[in-house]
Amino acid sequence: MVRLPYVTALTTLFSYGLLFAFGQLRDFFRKIIDWFKSTSKDLKGYAPICLGLEDFYTRRLYLRIQDCFSRPIASAPDAWFDVVERYSKDNNKTLHRTSKTSKCLNLGSYNYLGFAAADEYCTPRVIESLKKYSPSTCSIRVDGGTTDLHTELEFLVARFVGKPAAITFGMGYVTNSAIIPVLIGKGGLIISDSLNHNSIVNGARGSGAAVRVFQHNNAPHLEEVLREQIAEGQPRTHRPWKKIIVIVEGIYSMEGELCQLPEIIAVCKKYKVYTYLDEAHSIGAVGKSGKGVCELLGVDPADVDIMMGTFTKSFGSCGGYIAASKEIVQYLKHACPAQLYATSMSPPAVQQVISALKVILGEDGSSRGAQKLAQIRENSNFFRSELKKMGFEVLGDNDSPVMPIMLYNPAKIPAFSRDCLKQNVAVVTVAFPATPLLLARARICISAAHSREDLLKGLEVISKVGDLVGIKYFPAEPPKHGHQAHKKVD
């Protein structure tokens, strides 16, 4: 639910209409010029890779602002990092790297607990395991790719999350898109939140099950959809569904909102459907001891059938895991293609996760884990409240480290991104098709590695750029009580 000024909605629609019209005009002239230039079909009877209109959005809209995306970096994604400067001679159609870098404040990496850069506990152990186990197992899990590090990690993850058993994979995206087809097939029903991540959508499409969508975070609508689908049964035959799975996420990365887990679990229990919780952004980042959305919202992990997460965000590594009951994990070990055909996780990456988990649990002998968790909660709440006070429209719930700032108009996306980069703050802007058409946004990810000065600098730059670009849609609060507010937060 976003609130936007009506005039902004009109201007955004008009801008997209104008961009669309110009794109069509350019395509039209391109077709004429191409028809004149070469009537010879060099295709030799092969079909073209894409029809002319399939990549219209990429060609005519995305390429214009290509320099705001895919910026290469030249250092570890810590609180400050080096961004490589690029230039273009043909209006952003091709970009060339230079050898110059600029040090920028990192407000875009999913570095929630600060493990992305060298850490005093994790890095020596990772280097040791690199020397002992080598960078890759060069084998699938079933053959020779299961080292004792992998089994230790699976035990540790299961203990951390609160489930009986866990299984890990080499890539986070693949965890969703390869597991969902294994869990459910034709004759089953998947009900997923309308704002679920592309990996879940991909897995659902690949499974062959019927897919229905319920309104984002809306437990009554989920109940309505469930009742309708259970009553109707499978399409055409109307036989009862073989299995129904409801898929939700812990923190939605484009909104920064927490899932309404207790209500959704209550609905699922009532109708006896399975639940699948994707905690990619919430594991390790929210909750008093970092155990994710279940701890934060007071849901018993035994109520969620399958819990999925990734190691890329809070643990500074790569890969994903699934935690569930012993029977499900045993079945997945035999049936999942990512176990049977894909290389297992790289051993240093596994060691990084093990060390990070030990730090978070406090088992490394220090209280750095608890410090980091408190730091990220404080940082996110401070940043979010300051942004709201300045008049920006910020989405997301309190305690969530992801905060999108709404931009809306397509022209404000490159303006905001480029102006922030000029002042050495690197932000990530997201547009269509990752978000709905009208709701383009700049997404800020706060990290425990950010100090108070970093946040203040970020706020100052964003405020200046926000004034220039004109995205302070709400009235700003007067700084009368600013003095007291600072005292309270400190």
Partner: protein, 158 residues
């Protein structure tokens, strides 16, 4: 100072990104405003009578909306992998459900344009004939019975 009017936008549960943008607030107003401003533009460019300008807008509207709503098929995104490649934009709207509010609005607009254009030209020929052809084709194309119908196989190809 004019107070800022806010609207609430709930992200609609529509998986088709090609048509989802039509369910947001402000779309109808933008459509009507575009038509009105293009009438003003035609008037200022050609300095013709208001009736001729409305006829021009009506015919341009006919050409553009027929091409984009009822002729072009598929979506401009390759990630959809061609599942909508045989459906025009009109058939993809609202997931194929007929007689929704959006569809009724879009069916009424050509009729209203026709009434305005024929009234301001005093029902004279040849403008009346052209306007009538435009409105008949557009309204027939939007009828629920014409869902996925291709007359004489026109536009049934890729």
């Amino acid at each position: 100072m004019m107070p800022k009017l806010y609207v609430e936008a709930v992200p609609p549960a529509d998986l088709n990104k090609n048509t989802e943008w039509f369910m947001y607030p402000g779309v109808w107003t933008t459509y009507i405003l575009i038509l009105f401003f293009s009438w003003l533009l035609v008037l200022s460019l050609f300095s013709c009578a208001p009736g001729t300008a409305w006829t021009f807008v009506n015919l341009a509207h006919f050409a553009i909306t027929y091409h984009f709503f009822h002729w072009k098929k598929g979506t401009p995104f390759s990630e959809d992998q061609g599942i909508y490649n045989s459906l025009t934009w009109w058939e993809q709207m609202d997931n194929g459900k007929q007689l929704t509010r959006n569809r009724k609005f879009l069916a009424v607009v050509p009729v209203v344009l026709y009434l305005i254009a024929s009234h301001t030209t005093d029902y004279r020929h040849p403008m009346l004939f052209l306007n009538t052809v435009a409105v008949i084709v557009l309204v027939i194309a939007k009828l629920p019975n014409m869902h996925k119908v291709r007359i004489f196989g026109i536009n049934a190809g890729r």
